[in-house]
Symmetry: C2
Subunit: 185 residues, 2 copies
C-alpha cells in the first residue's frame, strides 16, 4: 500500500473517531507514519484529504448495506438482516457522525458525499420495502419512502444513544422496537 493510501486510511480512522474539527493534519501524518511534505505532496490540504477519505468510507458503507439488502429472502427478512448485522455500535456511523461536524455541514463540498450516501441508503431501503409491498408482504397503503427514512433514522439515532450511554444496549433496543412495529403491520 502506497503512502497516499496510508494517509487516506489514517484520515478515515481519525474522522471516524474524532470528526473533522477534532482531527489535525499532524495527527493524520503521525498515524500514517508520513511526514508533512509527504501529505502536502499528495493532497492540497486537510480538506482535500478529508474529501478522499469520506468518499472512500461512503463507498464501503454503500457496499456493506447492499450486502444485506440484496440477499435472497423477503423484504422484512432482508431489512432485519441489515438492522441486526454486526456493527461497531460504540464507534458510531463513519458517515452519519460527520453530519454533526460544523465544518462539514458548512461546506457544500464536504457535506455532499455525506448527504448522497445517506440518501442512497434510504432509496435502497425504499426499493426493498416497495418489493415487499408489491408481494403483499406489507400493507398496500404503506408510505415506503417515509418508512425507509425512519429505519435509517433509527440506526443513526441508535448510535447516538449508544454512545451517550457508552453501551450498545439502546441501539439494540431501538432496532428491536422498530422491527416489532414493522412485523406487526
Amino acid at each position: 500500500m502506497g503512502t497516499r493510501d496510508q494517509l487516506v486510511d489514517s484520515a478515515r480512522a481519525l474522522l471516524w473517531e474524532r470528526g473533522y474539527v477534532g482531527t489535525s493534519p499532524k495527527a493524520i501524518q503521525q498515524r500514517a507514519g508520513a511526514g508533512q511534505g509527504s501529505m502536502y505532496h499528495h493532497f492540497a490540504g486537510k480538506k482535500d484529504l478529508a474529501l478522499a477519505a469520506v468518499r472512500r468510507s461512503a463507498e464501503e458503507l454503500l457496499t456493506a448495506a447492499d450486502a444485506q439488502l440484496s440477499t435472497p429472502g423477503t423484504a422484512v427478512e432482508r431489512i432485519t438482516a441489515y438492522l441486526r448485522r454486526e456493527r461497531e455500535v460504540l464507534k458510531g456511523c463513519p458517515i452519519g457522525r460527520l453530519s454533526q461536524d460544523p465544518d462539514i455541514v458548512a461546506d457544500p463540498e464536504l457535506r455532499a458525499p455525506v448527504d448522497e450516501t445517506l440518501t442512497r441508503v434510504r432509496a435502497r431501503l425504499a426499493e426493498v420495502l416497495d418489493e415487499g409491498r408489491a408481494a403483499g408482504e406489507l400493507p398496500a397503503g404503506l408510505d415506503t419512502a417515509a418508512l425507509a427514512t425512519t429505519i435509517v433514522a433509527v440506526l443513526q439515532g441508535g448510535y447516538v444513544l449508544a454512545r451517550a450511554a457508552n453501551s450498545p444496549e439502546p441501539f439494540d433496543q431501538a432496532v428491536s422496537g422498530v422491527l416489532a412495529l414493522l412485523t406487526a403491520c
Copy 2:
C-alpha cells in the same frame, strides 16, 4: 444577567453549534463579551464551564419534553405532539449532538449529563406508552421500553439526516414513518 450567566449562555450556544472540540474558551469569552480573567475567575476552565452549560441545556430539554408529554390526551396524541412540535431541526439536538464529540464521550463527567438526559426522556416516553397500553389504546404485548427508545432514536437520527441533507425534510419523513407504524399497531 450576571457575567457568569452570560458565559454559560455563550457556551451553550457554541456547544450546540460547534460541539466541544470545536469550541474554544476564547470564542466563548468573545461571544459573552467577557475577558480571559473573568471566565477563569468563575470557572476552573473549559471543561468546568462546559459542564455548567450542558447541565443547563439538559434541564431545558427535559422541561420542554414534559410540556408535550404531560398534556391531556391519549398516549398516541401526546407522543404525536412531542414528535411534531416546533424544532430547530437543522441545528440538531443540543444534547444528542454531544454524543458525537470524542472529548465528551471519553470523559465520564462530561458524558454523564448527556446520558442521564436521554435516559430520562426514554423513561418518560415509556411511561406514556405504558399508560396507553393500560388503557387498551396500544397492544397488550407491546414492549414499551423498546418502543420508547425507538422513538427517541428516530428524533436523534432525524436530526442527523436533516443536517446531512441541509433540509428538515428527512426529519419530518422519519417522524411520519414511525407515527404511521404506531397508529397502525
